[in-house]
């Protein structure tokens, strides 16, 4: 004979450990919750407001430069190390956790125009208005050897420098785009197209033989390091100041333009930008992608930083302080948590990438 008894599964009302939250039985029948939409609305509103309330993006500033900061470089392996170059030719290495300068050298006569780290993390390259490219070795603590490892003499002024991630070569730009290898005194390849100056150059981080540059003739140029000729040129209405490749999507790049906007392009279809990012109220001077490829940060002549989703037309965040002057260079840290900006008033600033995120700092 079967005797029916009440039976309940203890899994439904007992928690597994003491640390688990209490299991609260609930009836999710929508008819019992007639005000779900208004309540959700209120909650969403509160969440948004609280996010704004807790938005404290500014972490600190690194001061020590004696002239405006012109360029920044992230260390490829150490999140706490940052290299910066200023208009007086000085290069400084910073410890971000302690917010202090580890070492500094007078790298160039005149501006330090470009700065980039070598992917193995043992050295970095600078180029300046003194027509030289110098390689500096840096140890794990961030100390720079005062004597450059390599000094390469060029015929013209170098505007910017970038190192390929996959190859042992780097590119400089100026009157022409040169591809160098560190152990050679002469560039292995030179690209010219017309007579205009290229003032920004960036290697594609995924397809490491492709590079793109911005020229003074309002154009964006694409190169393939393996070929002898440039690939393509796109001419915009105004000059582009900087360029950044998406580190997760090989064919996407964004340019910072003089016309206050940023343009995201698909390299395969250059006839139209994928997106136009508007919000700045003055020329955009620099742009850098987050390592996740979902957002990018831009620094502008209007003394602000803005964070844009890569597929949205407007920024989700704007950072500024009273004292920050026009932002010449911005970087997004490699762990996707911080922003770094160098500005004309000689300071480097550290920001949170998500303004209200708790980071324990």
């Amino acid at each position: 004979m079967k005797v029916k008894v009440l039976s309940r599964n203890p899994d439904n009302y007992l928690r597994e450990t003491k640390r688990d939250i209490h299991k609260v039985p609930r009836n999710y029948d929508p008819t019992l919750h007639p005000f779900e939409a208004p309540r959700e609305y209120i909650r969403a509103l509160n969440a948004t407001k609280l996010e704004r309330v807790f938005a404290k993006p500014f972490i600190g500033s690194l001061d020590g430069h004696r002239d405006g900061v012109n360029c920044l470089a992230k260390h490829p392996h150490q999140l706490s190390t940052l290299v910066s170059g200023s208009y007086d030719g000085e290069v400084k290495v910073w410890d971000l956790t302690r917010r202090e300068c580890i070492s500094s050298i007078q790298a160039h006569d005149g501006f330090v125009q470009g700065l980039c780290a070598v992917p193995d993390g043992s050295s970095f390259l600078t180029c300046g208005t003194d027509k030289t490219v110098k390689q500096w070795s840096i140890n794990e603590e961030g100390r720079i050897n005062p004597e450059p490892v390599v000094t390469l003499l060029g015929k013209t002024v170098f505007q910017q420098i970038d190192h390929s991630l996959g190859h042992n070569s780097f590119a400089t730009c100026g009157e022409q785009v040169d591809i160098w290898e560190v152990d050679r005194a002469e560039p292995v390849r030179s690209f010219t197209w017309g007579v205009d100056t290229v003032h920004a150059i960036k290697f594609n981080p995924i397809e490491t033989h492709i590079l793109a540059g911005c020229a003074v003739d309002r154009s964006i140029l694409l190169y393939d390091m393996r070929g002898s000729a440039p690939l393509r040129k796109v001419i915009l209405k105004l000059k582009s100041n900087a360029l950044a490749w998406n580190p997760m999507e090989a064919f996407i790049f964004t340019v910072a333009n003089e016309d206050y906007n940023l343009y995201t392009f698909d390299m395969r279809k250059l006839s139209m930008p994928l997106n136009i990012h508007k919000d700045h109220i003055s020329a955009v001077l620099d742009v850098d992608y987050s390592p996740t490829g979902k957002e990018f940060v831009s620094g502008s002549f209007d003394k602000t930083l803005r964070i844009f989703p890569y597929d949205k037309g407007h920024s989700r965040e704007v950072y500024h302080t009273k004292r920050m002057q026009r932002v010449s260079v911005v970087k997004w840290s490699l762990d996707n948590k911080y922003l770094l900006s160098g500005s004309m008033e000689m300071n480097i600033r550290v920001w949170k990438a998500r303004a209200s995120e708790k980071l324990g700092i």
């Binding site: 004979m1 999710y28 919750h33 959700e40 492709i210 000729a229 690939l231 090989a250 395969r268 996740t292």
Partner: protein, 775 residues
């Protein structure tokens, strides 16, 4: 071709060699002559360069000399002289016929342009291999950065063991034990442990083989048995199974007998087990004859007299449960009969008539007693008793006979339902045999039960006619008990099957009624009518006459066999339409029968108009300037005075009969509305649904809530996220990439337009290959 040319070269060399030797000799001679005057002519002449008009491929010719310019016809001139090298000659002639100048190279900028285009196309194609990866990442519900591939390789026990280092004292002790033991494999190269090896060495091969064979046989037998059982189980033949069952029972029986003799203890055990079974059977409420329990009990009956009784009881119970409720009615009537005081025997008889199976054994006993009485009484008495049994019963006269009468009639009724009970049947048959002997010779009593019944009825009729007087007397004596008698007669009537018989019975009723006419009370005819109803009802039950009447009597056995006819139940006549078109029309009409679209629309519009019109505002206050008190109403004048009239708004759809124009479009809202559907959604519905669905944990189970609020991107503090690398591309795309590198190699070689074109072609080809490889 190459071979031929070699041959040709060697031949040419042979023919030239003789000339060369001559020339050399000639030169040497000349030198010798010039040396005679003791002065060197020049150093140039030292080199043995042939300056003759003939050209040899083995010697240099001075390029500067315009005269000695090499011509094709000079080179191949020797071919004319020979008869060999036919194919070569042919080829040469073909070349000479179709000679063309090479086109001039393109200007530098044009060339560069083409180079750029082709290079760009190649790069674009190359980059497209990232497309699926990128799309996948964009669509991903959640991305965890850094996007490193997880290592899914399974760690084997061996690897774990190799990595394991004993640290704690316990681990050390265990390790020491394990390593010292002979039962652990020490050397991985060997499959067996030391102990196993020794055991193997000690074992006799012959024995091992035998043992193995034995085991195999055993296993085979088992499997055969299993197969057989399976096969037998599948056999559908009932006969087969019956035989099988019988065999089993027989076996059990035999076993039991042997057990009783040999092992009384286990026999006792078995018996207790059966006792338990019985209890279980009783609990199961099944009460069926064919159960295992019943069969076992039959075997068991040999050892216990009670066993048979138990089965019998059970069967009775079963009948009791499954019996039709109809029988109660007669008893109801009897209970209606008021004064009737059931005496002990009579009472039991009534109970019996309700459920005769309960008192079967008693019946038998009484029957036997009755038979004893029967012998003493005469036939007339029998007839009387059979009809007016209850009367007799009440009188306490001839007790045994009355019981016989009552019981036999009811018994017969039930025997019709149940044929299984042979014992009682036989007993009754026996009684009837005896009855036959004792009755008058003209009454023919047959063993057939139906016939018996009929005879009984006939007998009754006769007795009615002949002994009307007597009956009337009896009835008069017990005025109310007559009704019960009628009831009895009715219940007997119900058994009649032929209409003619029925009529005769009715006649008989009428006779009885005549007889009862004076004595019965007022309610009698009513009751009779009711009885008639019942009688008819019974008849209908028997003859399956289709007279619709609510039948509350439910036969438990027929519960599921009732055939429901829906056709008859439908009260409305079906709409019969001959043609298909009409059918459709009807359908449409039916479908829209309840929809009055026009009226609905008109109502909707009037609603919209009303809600759109601003309302009058009445600012009149009660009591101001009026008399105070309860139940005040504002005067009309006042209302009119203080009402602000709302302006009449002209609607756009005022003169449009069939249109409602909504003029309440809110521009403030529009600002917050979504213009385009965001990325992952395909249509509006999808998006709206996702927006409408609540997210909070108040409205969703914990799991769903977690899923809903899952962040799109997860990064970890202090973890460097490197750019995507080539390993992210799935395998099928790598084939495409290989194709690309090939085309790259060809690309570096080309320099003019023609090759540029060819390269484009190769690119296309590669694309095609890529597609093919994708498939």
């Amino acid at each position: 071709m190459a071979l031929e040319s070699d041959q040709w070269e060697s031949l040419a060399a042979e023919s030239d060699e003789e000339d060369l030797a001559d020339d050399r000799k000639h030169n040497q001679l000349l030198d010798a002559i010039s040396a005679l005057d003791g002065k060197k002519k020049n150093s140039l002449s030292q080199r043995t360069v042939i300056n003759s008009g003939k050209i040899s491929e083995f010697q240099f010719s001075s390029v500067a000399d315009a005269v000695t310019k090499v011509k094709l016809h000079e080179l191949v001139g020797s071919l004319k002289e020979t008869t060999e090298h036919g194919t070569l000659k042919q080829q040469l002639s073909v070349i000479q016929k179709h000679k063309q100048t090479v086109s001039t190279p393109l200007p530098k900028h044009e060339k560069a342009k083409i180079c750029r285009t082709t290079a760009y196309e190649a790069t674009t194609h190359d980059l497209s291999k990232w497309e699926p990866t990128v799309k996948e990442n964009r669509k991903a519900e959640q991305l965890q950065f850094p996007l490193h591939k997880q290592d899914f390789s399974v760690v084997t026990t061996d690897q774990l063991v190799q990595r394991f280092q004993p640290r704690t004292p316990l681990e050390m002790a265990v390790a020491a034990l394990l390593h010292g033991s002979e039962n652990v494999v020490q050397d991985n190269s060997k499959e067996l442990t030391l102990a196993e090896q020794r055991a193997l060495a000690a074992m006799d091969i012959q024995k091992a083989k035998e043992r193995r064979m034995e085991l195999m046989k055993h296993r085979a037998l088992l499997s055969y048995k299993e197969l057989k059982a399976k096969r037998q189980k599948k056999i559908k033949s009932k006969r087969f199974h019956r035989i099988l069952k019988k065999e089993k029972l027989k076996d059990e029986k035999r076993l039991l007998e042997t057990l009783q003799k040999e092992d009384p203890e286990s026999f006792l055990e078995k018996i207790t087990q059966w006792e338990k079974d019985r209890v279980q059977e009783r609990m199961s409420l099944r009460h069926r004859g064919g159960t295992k329990f019943a069969k076992r009990q039959m075997i068991y009956a040999k050892f216990d007299e009670k066993a048979r009784q138990e089965v019998q009881d059970m069967l009775q119970k079963s009948r009791e449960i499954t019996q039709k409720l109809a029988a109660t009615e007669s008893s109801d009537e009897e209970s209606d009969s008021g004064d009737l005081e059931p005496q002990q025997a009579g009472g039991s008889a009534f109970v019996d008539s309700r459920n005769p199976w309960m008192s079967r054994p008693n019946v038998l006993i009484k029957l036997k007693q009755g038979i004893g009485h029967l012998e003493e009484n005469n036939a007339e008495n029998v007839g009387h008793s059979l009809i007016v049994d209850d009367v007799m019963d009440n009188k306490n006269d001839d007790k045994g006979m009355s019981i016989i009468g009552g019981n036999t009639s009811t018994d017969l009724q039930h025997q019709k339902n149940d044929d299984s009970d042979d014992d009682s049947d036989n007993a009754i048959d026996g009684i009837f045999d005896k009855l036959k002997e004792s009755k008058e010779p003209e009454t023919e009593v047959k063993t057939n039960r139906k016939q018996i019944r009929l005879k009984q009825v006939r007998k009754r009729k006769k007795s009615h006619k002949s002994d009307e007087k007597l009956a009337a007397e009896a009835v008069v004596k017990t005025s109310e008990s007559g009704k019960s008698e009628e009831g009895m007669v009715d219940s007997d009537d119900s058994l009649c099957e032929e209409p003619s018989k029925k009529r005769s019975l009715e006649d008989m009723d009428a006779l009885i009624n005549e007889a009862l006419g004076q004595s019965t009370n007022e309610p009698a005819p009513k009751k009779k009518q009711r009885k008639r109803h019942k009688k008819k009802h019974f008849q209908s039950g028997n003859h399956q006459q289709s007279k619709p009447k609510a039948d509350t009597n439910i036969d438990p056995k027929k519960l599921f066999t009732v055939d429901v006819n829906l056709r008859q139940s439908s009260s409305k006549p079906d709409v019969v339409v001959n043609e298909e078109d009409d059918d459709q029309l009807v359908n449409i009409a039916e479908a829209f029968a309840s929809d009055d679209v026009i009226e609905e629309f008109a109502a909707e519009k009037s609603d919209a108009v009303r809600s759109g019109q601003p309302q009058d505002i009445c600012l009149a206050l009660p009591g101001w300037g009026d008399w105070g008190g309860a139940g005040l109403s504002i005067s009309k004048r006042k209302k009119k005075q203080f009402t602000i009239k709302a302006p009449v708004v002209q609607r756009k759809d005022q003169f449009l009969g069939h249109v409602i124009i909504n003029e309440k479009k809110n521009d403030a809202l529009k600002k917050h509305q979504v213009e385009t559907i965001p990325f992952p959604y395909c249509n509006t519905d999808q998006f709206e649904k996702s927006i409408r669905a609540p997210i909070g944990r108040t409205w969703n189970p914990a799991g769903v809530f977690k899923q809903l609020v899952k962040p799109k991107v997860v990064t970890h503090l202090g973890k460097i996220i490197t750019p995507m690398d080539q390993s992210a591309i799935s395998k099928h795309e790598t084939g495409d990439a290989d194709g690309k590198t090939e085309s790259e190699e060809t690309e570096s070689k080309q320099s003019n337009r023609k090759t540029g074109k060819s390269r484009m072609k190769t690119n296309k080809k590669h694309k095609g290959q890529g597609k093919y490889s994708n498939k």
